[in-house]
Point group: C2
Chain length 281, copies 2
């Protein structure tokens, strides 16, 4: 990420936009997507680390770009992100729009630059394809945000594009970086994405419980169906465990299969919300 | 463009965002950049028309994306574009942000798809590099817009990135599509870009004259230096002719050199503002 940034921070560039780019990506969040990507690349032998590094950085740049645009006044109108003012609050709305746009361009630029340096243009092209598909329309994160402007939402398409798309990109791009076919890796990404979605639903429900001072039921929690509304807290927790078991089972046969399964289990523990005592069996 | 759009307009996509994408690119403006790109590709032999077609569409998609974002309330707050309401007026501000983002992703996607179909991944990767560089930071159109947030503007960098960058992309990408080295083609793009800039300055000055009812002088017209402020109307007109002559002279030796010179002359006539009688010699 720092290397990617170095490329755009030159004296001839407009200074505030340069600073806003750093501000938007450093210090990072949990960097879950690049971690998954590098783990999958490692499991596939990672014969070209410069390519998987570039892929991990590009994926995280797109994720950061989407956060900057999602925080804008016309979407979430968020004041803070990762404990500091959002980009449009710290720099201005025009600079936030341009920061998102510039990060997107930079993501694609570093992929093809790495491809050129490593004589791996085919991998670079495949990475660009995966990243653009999982980010744009009709099935990427832009589509996910777009669903929020529809009167009636196709919930499966909404979750698949808004949350799962960049997790699918993580596993696909990890495989591509190491010269493997991305297709068998899609299920793992989709299942990890689904797990994050259900974990979010659970966390929201448990926070609501705390706020309301009473357990939440199986009714509609936020005017939109979610895992807890459909299955209840214990049911959603069990569903989450099932999804994660499915994710581990979906790992294609590869040299680093066992290590990758460990990584997924570790991520799973990190996202699994702790249930209050009354839900313990 | 229509083929590119077809790819994103599927039943599983959010309908309003799908419609907004069409709305943003159809019907088009003058399509000057893709015209230049295809003319350069033609002059270089255009041995892979599917690649140059994709490049022309990708370049125009990025141009359209930049118009949609530039029209947003936080930038120009424009009500109309190409004779109809701007995307954010017709669809909403969130959908306008997403339209720009989706068009950017789509541009890169169609480049690598064409590369894959034509077994021309190297060309596709080079095209992605040119387009991302000319669109992003530190020297592309994002940088150009970024300069407008600076207290003191580096005018040369501003014009180079805001106006010239996508013209440089037109000539570079035309050459790359046909398998030629892009480097010798950069000057032509930069000079055409500069010509557009001076022609714009002239047109603005002549419109101001009409509005004020008196000729404009060599003073600063809009609080920022421009060709007319520096050279006067007749001087700027002469400068524009010089730039265009330089553009034609810069055309690298290639099979279709003569036809390309004709195209540049035709474009030049189209952009050359008609001077009122008092400026005729």
């Amino acid at each position: 990420m720092a290397r990617a940034l170095g490329r755009v921070q030159v004296e001839t560039a407009p200074a505030k936009l340069s600073q806003a780019l750093s501000y938007a990506i450093l210090p990072g969040g949990a960097r879950i997507r690049p971690t998954i990507l590098l783990s999958v690349a490692g499991a596939c032998g990672d014969d070209c680390p410069a390519m998987s590094d570039a892929a991990a950085a590009a994926l995280e740049l797109i994720h950061c770009a989407s956060l900057v645009h999602d925080d804008l006044p016309c979407f979430d109108d968020a004041d803070t992100r990762r404990g500091k003012p959002t980009v449009h609050r710290a720099y201005s709305e025009p600079l936030a729009v341009l920061t998102g746009d510039s990060l997107i361009m930079l993501a694609f630029e570093i992929l093809v630059r790495a491809g050129r340096a490593e004589d791996a243009n085919l991998r670079a092209a495949q990475l660009v394809l995966s990243l653009s598909q999982r980010s744009g329309m009709p099935g990427g994160i832009c589509a996910g945000q777009g669903w929020e402007s529809e009167a009636s939402i196709d919930l499966r398409a909404y979750h698949m594009s808004k949350t799962a798309a960049l997790f699918i990109a993580s596993t696909e791009m990890g495989a591509i970086s190491a010269g493997h076919d991305p297709e068998p890796w899609r299920d793992l990404g989709a299942l990890i994405g689904e797990a994050f979605q259900v974990a979010d639903d659970l966390r929201d429900a448990l926070l609501d419980e705390e706020a309301l001072g009473k357990p939440v039921g199986q009714d509609d929690l936020h005017g939109r169906p979610n895992a807890v509304a459909t299955l209840g807290v214990k049911g959603a927790r069990a569903h989450l465990s099932d999804i994660l078991a499915g994710a581990i089972a979906s790992i294609p046969s590869c040299p680093g299969e066992a290590d990758l399964a460990k990584m997924v289990r570790r991520q799973a523990q990190a996202i699994m919300p702790k249930l209050p005592e009354r839900y313990q069996v």
